[in-house]
């Protein structure tokens, strides 16, 4: 029982997450203009995907759980899309 070692996928994900963290902090200091925020969000999405796929074991699960996991994000997308549509297309009256 005592000779349990963490699976390589978990260790690998953990190291990848830390590497991505270092990367996103470094990139944040590079003057990329408006790409800075895009880069930050994309890297955050990659990190979240790694956590979901490996730590939360989604990659071993069937389509049903993927749909459940995706539903929240999908509806979040609706909120942001239709909500921001108003604020971005307002013309001063």
């Amino acid at each position: 029982m005592t000779n349990w070692w963490p699976p390589l996928t978990l260790v690998g994900s953990w190291l990848a997450l830390l590497a991505l963290l270092a990367l996103t902090v470094t990139l944040a200091y590079l003057p990329l203009g408006s790409f800075n925020s895009a880069v930050a969000i994309v890297i955050a999405a990659i990190k979240a995907t790694i956590v979901a796929a490996f730590f939360m074991e989604l990659r071993d699960r069937g389509a049903r759980l993927l749909i459940f996991a995706g539903a929240g994000l999908f509806w979040l997308g609706i909120l942001l899309w239709l909500g921001l549509m108003d604020f971005m297309t307002r013309t001063p009256a």
């Binding site: 029982m1 005592t2 349990w4 963490p6 699976p7 978990l10 260790v11 994900s13 953990w14 997450l17 830390l18 963290l21 996103t24 902090v25 944040a28 200091y29 590079l30 003057p31 990329l32 203009g33 800075n36 925020s37 930050a40 969000i41 890297i43 955050a44 990190k47 979240a48 956590v51 979901a52 490996f54 730590f55 939360m56 049903r64 759980l65 459940f68 996991a69 539903a71 929240g72 994000l73 509806w75 979040l76 909120l79 942001l80 909500g83 921001l84 604020f87 971005m88």
Partner: protein
Amino acid sequence: MPKGRAFAPQYASVQHRDETAEIGMWVFLATEVLLFGGLLFAYFVYRHANPAAFAEAGRHTRIVIGTANTAILLTSSFFVACAVNALQADARRTCIAMLVSAMLLGLLFLGLKAAEYAGEYHEHLVPGVDFSYVAPLADGVELFFIFYFVATSIHAVHMVIGIAVLATLAVLLRRSASTRMRAALHSAALYWHFVDVVWIVLFALIYLPGRSGT
């Protein structure tokens, strides 16, 4: 009526029960996504209206603490994932050790968070309590800090709940490792990882804007 079974009568088997619990947990997490989603929406609306102020406010956050906290939380998530894996391999002591490590990291996260809050209080950056910021863009900066405090404190509440759940599980696991406990640990782990994911997103939105000086 069936008596003396390890699972409630509406289930056909232990596996049936555990799969249902996993579905329930994921539905709950979908709910949580939308809870933080409302905050994200508010954040993007105001960031769109005050881009320069949000960049400036981002520079006033403590990126060292933020980055350290992110690393801490990612590591704690790793430990929790290991705990689940260890219990599957019947390494109960390792599992408990992993849970305790994750909890300690969680407490460390909260401690750093508190230090960060204290620093912001000294800099008069707490809207509604003590906010004075004399510069152009002060209003946008205030909006940023409102979001910052609401979002991070709701996240911190989730952390406290998560730590309490992990602590309970660690204590119960010392006694036995029934199938019921495995299912409970699995659900708790999903919750902990979700709180981690929320932080990953908050980190990108709070600490990273404006670092490159634009």
